[in-house]
């Protein structure tokens, strides 16, 4: 019997998701033994033409990590969608837009100006920006178009399942692969992770006060963190109460507050708004000025609460007067 064919592809991502696949360690041999990897540019030398030659839906499953922010990424995921039976958004960036999604706080022009002109280490007196096409003696060379708005994978193509996390925890990848190979898949659109908040399963749960009264917010370097006590109660901005579990509490075990990479549970529409609501409600003051002062310690609310999910949020991106908010 022929083995199921599998593809991996990355879009706007850091490479951590590919790392997570390699982190399967010896289990990756089982995966390799069970499937045929037909496309994995980061590890194996296959080209786009190889994918184009495949029949429609010939790939049993394709894992895509990274957000979509260029015409090239969009063309590739559209092609892969056509060639795949199951398409899985792998990791925070493809699930919710991820860290690259924070680019939605700016527009394309501002990002290019910053990268190619304003950064203090850049010397570019003629103001040369990357061109989409350029004439050279050998002919025309082209680059993909950079979009104004970063998008999550399901905002551009149809997605069957989501593996959340930055990167997805190895255990969840194993479970997902086992479920796919065994044909035991849940309803389409499911996030392949537990649907409980991290706070519920946190090893520090017992030390969480019944009603935390947050009087100040601290950043991890500003205090010596107690290794046993609830991080929120210590004044750290831990987002465990608003975040899906399934990560094995990796950050919390490492004495770092949860930053929300697993995204929301199924009951939440907008992760950032919900996390903001949870944290702000716990401020231990009723005085308007004092509340503003306490919350003022959160230096960057948008970057904090939408760290991994700005493109998938209700607002998607900054609203530029007169240009529309999409």
């Amino acid at each position: 019997m022929s083995k199921p064919k599998v593809g991996f592809y990355w879009c706007a991502a850091c490479g951590g998701c590919e790392e997570a696949v390699v982190d399967l360690n010896e289990d990756i041999l089982k995966v390799v033994a069970a499937v045929d990897i037909l496309f994995w540019p980061v590890a194996l030398d296959f080209k786009r033409e190889d994918v184009e030659k495949l029949n429609d839906r010939e790939l049993a499953v394709c894992f895509i990590n990274g957000a979509i922010r260029s015409s090239e990424q969009f063309e590739m995921v559209e092609l892969l969608r056509k060639k795949s039976g199951l398409l899985i958004a792998f990791g925070s960036c493809s699930h919710l837009g991820g860290i690259p999604g924070l680019a939605n706080l700016f527009n394309r022009e501002a990002i290019l100006a910053n990268s190619y002109k304003e950064v203090f280490s850049v010397e570019n007196p003629q103001g040369i920006y990357p061109q989409q096409s350029c004439q050279v003696p050998e002919g025309t060379v082209t680059l993909p178009a950079l979009w104004n708005t970063v998008k999550a994978l399901d905002q551009v193509i149809d997605v069957d399942y989501y593996l959340p996390g930055c990167p997805p925890p190895v255990e969840l990848i194993k479970d997902a692969v086992a479920a796919i190979l065994g044909g035991k898949l849940p309803a389409k659109g499911t996030v392949l992770a537990p649907d409980k908040a991290l706070c519920e399963v946190c090893p520090r749960k017992e030390s969480k006060p019944e009603k935390p009264q947050l009087r100040e917010f601290k950043r991890p370097h500003e205090l010596v963190i107690d290794t046993e006590k609830c991080l929120l109660a210590q004044g750290l901005l831990c987002l465990g109460s608003a975040t899906r579990s399934g990560c094995g509490s990796a950050c919390v075990n490492g004495n770092m507050p949860c930053t929300g990479c697993m995204g929301p549970t199924s009951r939440v529409l907008d992760y950032g708004a919900k996390a903001l609501s949870a944290i702000a409600s716990l401020v231990g003051s009723n005085d308007e000025k004092e509340i503003a002062a306490i919350l003022g310690k959160i230096a960057d609310p948008t970057g904090t609460f939408y760290r991994y999910s700005l493109p998938a949020s209700l607002l998607h991106r900054t609203y530029n007067s007169g240009q529309g908010g999409n």
Partner: protein
């Protein structure tokens, strides 16, 4: 004629979603009605049991679904029927305001007011004020975008990008 022009020519009627607390502000709006106070009809009032019921998601959703502004009305501090629901509103709103600012949504578009049950005149004043302010600001361009139109938008943005010196 674009929305912006409409706003300038004075034809633009802002849409306001007003979330009023059952015990104070909604009663005040009722009072304004029975006292025949007239005010701008731009707000769609949603009665909630407490302003503390207002999930920030509701506010973003209202803006996403076409509101030009959101008005939140609750009891004065200390007067909350549920002891401290309005304090929670105050805390959330303080942080949400900063987030909205980051997203480029003007402060005037989302407004919180403490209005007691007896302050019908305050409802009238706030409604009129906010409508005027939004008229000046013009429409908020946050149309809901169904997934099937995204493809079209993407094609458009690729087409737009073509030939643009980036």
């Amino acid at each position: 004629m674009s929305d912006k022009n409409k706003a300038n020519s004075g034809n633009f009627e802002p849409r306001i979603v007003a979330f009023f607390c059952n015990w104070c502000t909604y009663t005040a709006a009722d009072l304004a009605g029975t006292a025949r106070m007239t005010y701008a009809p731009n707000a769609r009032v949603v009665r909630v049991m407490c302003s503390g019921r207002l999930d920030p998601q509701f506010i973003l959703m209202a803006l996403r679904e076409g509101a030009d502004g959101v008005l939140i009305g609750g009891c004065h501090p200390g007067d909350c029927h549920y002891q401290e629901g309005n304090y929670k509103t105050l805390r959330r709103f303080t942080l949400l305001k900063r987030l909205l600012q980051d997203m480029g949504i003007e402060n005037e578009r989302v407004r919180m007011e403490w209005i007691a049950a007896s302050e019908g005149d305050r409802v009238q004043k706030v409604m009129n004020e906010m409508t005027e302010q939004l008229k000046k600001l013009g429409p908020l361009h946050l149309e809901p975008v169904p997934i099937d139109t995204v493809h079209k938008k993407v094609e458009e943005s690729v087409a737009q990008a073509e030939g643009v010196k980036i």
